[in-house]
């Protein structure tokens, strides 16, 4: 009797544990969907271009969620404006910090769990998504005059196999941000050629001033320099053909760029211990006016006008000094329209998603230009007096651009990007020679 009791009790206990487990592990599959029929009548005052008056919620993932981000306010404003104009469409945002976002979006694409719309990067980054048919081609939706509103090159990085898969809103480019005051007080000429750059580096070194700022830990900041140097050495066509595996890194132009980069390293152009500094740390001496030169993306214009910056009104942007023996000229720039918005190929609300995609990009082009975060990829008319002066200078500088050569880490696909960045880090440390550097890059072809 006693034993039987134990058995029954144990069976009951076991069963309850089991039930508990099942209860816990069963995923909640229910998803709340807006009750479409009930909402129709309440939406009488909607001024909708899209035919349906159903309430639609679009999930939109992006990277501009931090208040410190130069584009934060622009995104908030554009989305609010859109929801005011199309009251039947709700935008549900989900934001993630840049680096984490890259991981998240890749994982979601792999699992086919992308939201209706997402921000991404053109070029090699999004290529796997397109190859896996995760992104909606939008060619047929752009013939309503949208294409005429874009500046040249705005779509080149979101075009894959002759089809357009996304829209861009802003243009970024690499530029040398130089502290005019430091150059003037020390009687040093702002360099236009490579020889003058070397002279300037030597002159600053002689005064005990570190000439340029770079972060070896956030490797892409080194690539900012090298991308521009390679462009000056090889020209746009040389870069594009080599990076798309139709040329060779062993061409003398690349060795030339690597040799010159190594020369700058040997001269001590970059701060000591640069390889251990993060971007934020390495920016500080520049913003304090201790380091005269920083080559980085056009978003640096925003950084220069940060509250804690001591170099406001002292910074001007210039192109990378031309190489006397190079194929590139002064009107070639690194960068381009890379930040893009794409639509999930499996979205349930195709029309609405594309409507938002166009609206968002067109208005973001204006708002982010006003905010000094990007140069516009759409033809916008704005009052420039209130814009960050460095951004206006950048717009002038690039107005004569012959073209933009995409950054290598965007142009190359993931695996090759890592080879490039890791090898470049070694070149900065001086642990490999320029010859070894191009040999290692050539392994990308294998």
């Amino acid at each position: 009797m006693k034993l039987k009791g134990v058995k029954v009790l144990s069976a009951l206990l076991g069963l309850s544990m089991l039930m508990g487990t099942i209860g816990c592990s069963s995923p909640s599959v229910k998803e709340e969907k807006p009750d479409s029929n009930a909402q129709v009548s309440s939406n009488e005052n909607s001024t909708v271009a899209a035919d349906s008056k159903e309430e639609v919620t679009l999930n939109f993932w992006h990277i501009w969620g931090a208040e410190t981000d130069a584009s934060y306010a622009s995104v908030k404003k554009v989305i609010a404006d859109f929801e005011a104009e199309y009251p039947n469409i709700k935008i549900k945002e989900d934001t993630t910090e840049n680096e984490a976002y890259k991981t998240k979006i890749k994982a979601s694409a792999a699992a086919n769990e992308l939201p209706d719309l997402f921000s991404t990067w053109g070029g090699g980054f999004s290529k796997p998504f397109i190859d896996a048919n995760r992104v909606l081609p939008i060619d047929e939706y752009l013939n309503d005059g949208t294409k005429d509103k874009l500046v040249g090159g705005a779509l080149s990085n979101v075009t894959y196999n002759d089809k357009i898969y996304g829209l861009t809103f802003g243009l970024s480019c690499g530029a040398f941000f130089v502290n005019e005051e430091l150059f003037a007080t020390n009687n040093i000429k702002i360099p236009e050629t490579y020889t003058e750059l070397i002279d300037a580096v030597k002159a600053f070194k002689a005064l005990g001033i570190t000439p340029m700022s770079v972060s070896g830990k956030d490797v892409w900041t080194i690539a900012m320099y090298f991308d521009a140097m390679a462009l000056k050495a090889a020209g746009n066509d040389g870069i594009v053909s080599t990076l798309t595996k139709k040329g060779s890194f062993k061409d003398p132009e690349f060795l030339n760029a690597a040799t010159k980069f190594a020369e700058l390293v040997a001269l001590g152009a970059f701060p000591e211990g640069a390889a251990g500094l993060s971007k934020d740390e390495s920016d500080i001496p520049f913003l304090e006016g201790k380091v005269p030169m920083l080559f980085n993306g056009s978003w640096t214009a925003g950084t220069v006008y940060r509250d804690d910056s001591k170099v406001k009104d002292k910074i001007i942007p210039i192109g990378f000094p031309v190489f006397e023996d190079g194929k590139g000229n002064k009107n070639e720039f690194t960068g381009g329209a890379v930040d893009a918005i794409m639509v999930n190929a499996d979205t349930e609300h195709k029309e609405e998603a594309i409507l938002f995609q166009k609206y968002f990009c067109e208005n973001m082009a204006r708002e982010t230009y006003l905010a000094g975060a990007y140069l516009p990829a759409w033809k916008v008319e704005v009052d420039e007096t209130n814009i960050n002066p460095v951004t206006v200078d950048l717009a002038k500088l690039t107005s004569e651009a012959e073209g933009f050569t995409l950054w290598w880490d965007t142009l190359l696909e993931g695996e090759d990007t890592q080879v490039y960045l890791n090898t470049l880090q070694e070149l900065l440390l001086g642990s490999i020679t320029p010859e070894e550097f191009v040999d290692k890059l050539q392994t990308i072809y294998e």
Binding site: L3, V6, K7, S10, A11, G14, M17, L18, G20, T21, S25, K102, T103, K106, A107, A109, A110, P128, F129, D131, A132, R134, G216, K217, V219, E272, G273, A274, A275, G276, L277, S278, E281, E413, G414, E415, T417, Q418, N422, Q425, E426, L428, L429, S431
Partner: protein, 292 residues
């Protein structure tokens, strides 16, 4: 009760729920990783089955070999530097010093702090210009010893090992401290009556009786060191030029930056096997000890 123990069905019945959980969160993912590791797969689209080629490539990949070596250096330093310090602290504190609880708490604080915060703290300590370490060296006139601690290939690895050791000293100390406290006071009193010094008591009574805890600590230290990721990622990202790369940072780079899921999964499987083998080794070590 005896009968329940002998009833195979009852045993199976009771084990079933935990087996399901174990299977879902451990066995299935390991199985999936092992399967992925046999594919040439970019994480999207279809993978191509390539057998053991990923593993063959793994052992020819200099970056991977460096990362394994670095992970083993982490494990080695944990065992031979961190654990002795923890043991010493535990022995001293449990001896009954003043403010015993206070010291236990203080040494345990680093364990509670988020690793990212610790990383930021140590980055400030190591900063070549305004870092505490270099400033201290300059202040005492040892200028020639100042380094770019995290930025130089020679010092980056050791500079990342130190914070990891520092962070978990308190953790192992607490384990050992609790172990010592659970040893019966009678034993200590008996040894005191026999006139044994503190050193002798520690060497011949406390430490031998602490063996099970030491085994746990050793296992945690070794396995933890092989899996270390966060602090290295914050401090150096595995750089410069792979000088402080460990297997887990390399794996994350391979999978999420290079889009090589198959190859990265092979690394994951390697780490699992590596941990398991070392775990068995530690078990064996302590067993032969018990026999002798």
């Amino acid at each position: 009760m005896e009968k329940v123990w002998r009833d195979k069905k009852a045993i199976a019945f009771f084990l079933f729920p935990s087996f399901v959980i174990l299977a879902l969160i451990i066995i299935v993912p390991i199985g999936m990783s092992s399967y992925y590791s046999l594919l040439d797969w970019d994480g999207f689209g279809k993978g191509e089955f390539i057998g053991l080629k990923n593993y063959i490539k793994l052992f020819k990949d200099p970056a991977f070999l460096i990362s394994v070596k670095n992970s083993l250096i982490f494990a080695f330093s944990s065992v031979f530097v961190q654990l002795p310090i923890s043991l010493l602290l535990a022995l001293v504190i449990s001896k009954g010093v003043k403010f015993e609880r206070f010291f236990v708490t203080v040494f345990f604080i680093p364990v509670i702090i988020s690793t990212v915060v610790i990383g930021q703290l140590w980055m400030k300590i190591y900063n070549p210009e305004y870092g505490l370490l270099n400033m201290f060296l300059r202040a005492v006139g040892l200028d020639n010893l100042t380094r770019e601690w995290l930025g130089s290939k020679d010092t980056a690895l050791m500079s990342s090992v130190v914070p990891v050791l520092w962070q978990y000293v308190g953790y192992h100390m607490l384990l050992m401290y609790a172990g010592i406290k659970s040893i019966s006071q009678d034993v200590f009193e008996a040894s005191k009556i026999d006139g044994a010094s503190w050193l002798k008591t520690s060497a011949f009574i406390t430490i031998p009786m602490l063996k099970p805890i030491l085994k746990v600590s050793l296992t945690f230290a070794v396995v933890g060191a092989l899996k270390v990721f966060d602090l290295v990622y914050v401090l150096t990202r595995g750089g410069p030029a792979r000088a402080s790369e460990v297997t887990s940072t390399l794996m994350v780079e391979t999978i999420f930056k290079s889009n090589r899921y198959g190859y990265g999964s092979a690394m994951a499987v390697f780490v699992i096997v590596e941990c398991f083998v070392l775990y068995l080794l530690i078990g064996k070590l302590f067993k032969t000890d018990e026999v002798a």
